[in-house]
């Protein structure tokens, strides 16, 4: 559409590109590389849990300090350097402009900066593996006093404290938040100002709504954690003592600042994923999404509630029991809108003309697994139960049952749905289905036994349970080994995905413009879309889910089609 864009060097086109599709791919590739690193860390410490004191293949022996450093890095990487770039940044970049029928983001240069800030943050984080202290080992939640490091405090030496795992991870997080903030502003402004003619807010595809909900929740909650990270950084490098109880500071204050963001963060990841699932379910049920407006209203309620539930992570931190009750009620209330959204999805399936294509399998797998995560969340939301299982493997199993489907099932549903659109090629569906079944089965094999270990008192963040006789009966040991072997198969089966991805990119069958016969605008342009996305920019006449219209010859009706 624009002649000036043709003569661009390799660097401008692929590295420092301002094109939203290239930036989306950059986020995607970086996220996948970080996922491989996070998965490798998981393999190492899971192996150590099942077979303590044994040498780990492809690694060696793992000491207690390294064990804690690895679980810390695994958690931080998977949430901030895998889920955030894949679900929010990559999907937002690829989908928003194409689905609302425009050429690019409102601020393309800011968009490029956003990616490079993110890249820098990943480098800073990985740097912590190479400093003398090793990566930070106090848990991904960065609680003081471990993270405020009293030894550095007494005699602040800026350079020395900068080159520690603790300072680097805080710095990396701060950079990542700034990056996502730049991306988020872009998403919101682009959605508001650059929608195609005729696309009113209520004619937007639900995934565009959901990515913007994620951005709103992120922008509302990220300020306090930036402030908290800033104060923690000053505690380490300038000796301020904000979170040092000995000097009058308050370590629990950091927990509040962290979880004020940390809980909404779950929804920042959940919303884009839920949006993808909605698109996929509607397309492959050949039926309108049930309760489009209801879903939007329920999400708005969830956003409001999401910022008043955070202290459910702090029930044993010594908070006032009356406050704990308030946060318990809030937490249980917030499950209502999400249960409503889940029911809308199931109602969409009801009576639909269901096509069990690959993306649909991931979407149904998402619902099946996420429901278990959501239901155990109800238990944990109640302070009386939470105090009993706090910091045990039960919590670990719960958040893997929520964050794994959110991150990977949501991402893979999106990947298999939009891969033909953005690469112009089709993948091998048999391999994709094998990939689904291995992931679905062995995820459960890994996470389900951990519920029972946790209920029996298995505390997390301990590298070797041999000192605890009550956790060393034969079933405890075999459950841990079963979980580990499942986790290893789960990780190995991702190579099926990698193989399929690389092979399809090189020699996959050419894809049609609209292989799924879907209504939204991105399917009404070439695969892959040209620079600028559309040769002729579309005008929108109807909502995105007009399937099975009896007056039409075909069972779908694109948003921009003139009748």
């Amino acid at each position: 559409m624009n002649i000036a864009h043709h003569e661009m060097s390799f660097w401008r086109r692929y590295i420092f590109s301002t094109d939203h599709k290239v930036i989306g791919f950059q986020y995607l590739i970086t996220g996948l590389i970080m996922a491989a690193i996070g998965g490798y860390l998981a393999y190492v410490f899971r192996y150590n849990l099942a077979f303590p004191a044994e040498s780990i293949p492809l690694f060696g022996s793992l000491g207690p300090k390294e064990y804690n450093a690895f679980i810390t890095s695994h958690g931080a990487i998977m949430i901030f350097w895998v889920a955030m770039p894949l679900l929010l940044a990559a999907l937002g970049n690829l989908l928003i402009p194409t689905m609302i029928g425009t050429d690019d983001m409102a601020f393309p240069t800011l968009n490029m900066l956003s990616y490079w800030f993110f890249f820098l943050s990943a480098i800073v984080l990985l740097l912590s593996f190479f400093v003398p202290s090793g990566p930070f080992d106090g848990g991904w939640t960065l609680y003081p006093p471990l993270s405020a490091d009293a030894y550095i405090n007494t005699e602040p030496d800026i350079w020395k404290s900068f080159m520690t795992g603790g300072t680097l991870i805080i710095l990396a997080l701060a950079l990542e938040f700034v990056s996502m903030l730049m991306g988020g502003i872009n998403f919101l402004v682009t959605t508001i100002n650059k929608r195609a003619k005729g696309m009113t807010l209520l004619k937007m595809p639900i995934v565009v709504w959901f990515i913007n909900f994620a951005v709103i929740d992120f922008m509302f909650s990220v300020g306090p954690i930036i402030a908290g990270a800033f104060m923690l950084l000053l505690d380490r490098v300038a000796g301020t003592g904000f979170f040092d109880a000995y000097r009058g500071g308050d370590p629990v204050l950091f927990q509040h600042m962290f979880w004020f963001f940390g809980h909404p963060e779950v929804y920042v990841l959940l919303f884009p994923s839920l949006g993808v699932i909605a698109e996929v379910i509607s397309t492959f049920s050949r039926k309108a999404l049930f309760g489009y407006k209801f879903i939007i209203k329920a999400s708005l309620i969830a956003i409001v509630l999401s910022v008043v539930v955070w202290a459910h992570h702090q029930f044993i931190a010594g908070i006032d029991p009356r406050m704990a009750t308030f946060f318990s009620i809030g937490t249980i209330l917030i499950s209502i809108p999400f249960a409503g959204i889940m029911l809308s999805y199931i109602a969409t399936l009801w009576g639909g003309n269901i096509q069990l294509k690959v993306p649909m399998m991931w979407a149904l797998g998402f619902i099946a697994i996420f429901l278990v995560g959501g239901l155990t969340g109800l238990y944990l939301g109640s302070d009386t139960f939470d105090i009993y299982v706090h910091d045990t493997s039960f919590v670990v199993a719960h958040f893997h049952y929520t964050l794994f489907p959110i991150t990977f099932f949501g991402f893979f549903a999106a990947f298999y749905y939009w891969f033909p659109k953005f690469t112009g090629r089709m993948y091998n569906t048999v391999l994709a289905k094998i990939h689904f079944w291995f992931t679905f089965i062995f995820f459960q094999g890994f996470a389900f036994p951990i519920f029972f270990l946790g209920l029996d008192g298995q505390h997390r963040r301990i590298n070797d349970y041999s000192a605890f006789d009550s956790l060393m009966s034969s079933w405890h040991i075999s459950f841990r080994q079963f979980a580990t072997i499942s986790a290893i198969i789960l990780i190995l089966s991702q190579f099926i995905f990698l193989f399929n991805l690389l092979k399809s990119l090189r020699s996959g069958k050419k894809s049609e413009e609209n292989p799924w016969k879907a209504n939204t605008l991105e399917w009404q342009t070439t695969s892959p879309p040209p620079h600028g996305n559309f040769v002729k920019y579309p005008q929108v006449y109807r909502d995105p889910y007009d399937y099975g219209n009896p007056d039409m010859k075909e069972d779908y009706l694109p948003q921009n089609k003139v009748i």
Binding site: L188, N193, A196, G223, A238, G241, F242
Partner: protein
């Protein structure tokens, strides 16, 4: 500040009628900034509440320069008025160099005087590691100073752009920069009352 509905032409991307992107972007940014300062302020209030009034400021620590900072603040407040005048005048004749440069000078004066206060306080032995009182002072006032520096840089950038593109309508950029500066000025009295007077 509401832009017109663009005429539909399938060869170019359509732009919805509404607030211009630059202004909207700054509004969303300020929403996050507000939450950032709200967190710093609540952290301050929570910690301050635990300390008896006789120990805040702690014995042996210098008192904050309440009056001279109030005087500095006047420059900041006046800079908001001169900037508002610039925005109003831009709609009429675009000749706003005088008011914009005056704003930048006043803002820079505020930052410089604040910096001089910091040097004095550090010479009195009040450093970032000499207790929560000092730590909160430097963190909150420092965060504001950082925003002020960024705001001045933005205003200088806008002034240069206006000078270079005399014909182009840059009112969206100007409004965006002005909104950011109004935030910097608007949050200052709150911080001043909290940090200097409590």
């Amino acid at each position: 500040m509401i832009s017109e509905d663009s005429v539909f032409n399938p060869d170019t991307p359509y732009i919805q009628k509404g607030i211009p992107s630059a202004v909207l972007g700054v509004i969303t940014l300020l929403f996050t900034e507000l939450m950032f300062f709200a967190a710093l302020i609540s952290a301050f209030i929570v910690n301050r509440a635990d300390v008896p009034a006789s120990e805040w400021p702690p014995p042996g620590q210098p008192r904050l320069p309440v009056l001279s900072t109030l005087f500095n603040s006047l420059f900041l407040l006046v800079s908001a008025f001169t900037l508002a005048l610039a925005v109003r005048k831009y709609k009429k004749d675009k000749k706003i160099a005088f008011w914009l440069i005056l704003t930048i000078l006043l803002a820079s004066l505020f930052i410089l005087l604040q910096g001089a206060e910091w040097v004095r306080l550090i010479n009195f032995g009040m450093t970032s590691s000499s207790g929560l009182y000092a730590a909160f002072f430097y963190t909150i006032v420092g965060a504001h100073a950082f925003h002020a520096l960024f705001g001045v840089a933005a205003l200088i950038y806008i002034q240069l752009r206006i000078r270079r593109n005399k014909k182009k309508n840059l009112s969206a950029e100007l409004t965006a920069g002005a909104l950011y500066w109004f935030f910097v000025v608007g949050i200052w009295p709150v911080l001043y009352i909290l940090v200097y007077l409590s």
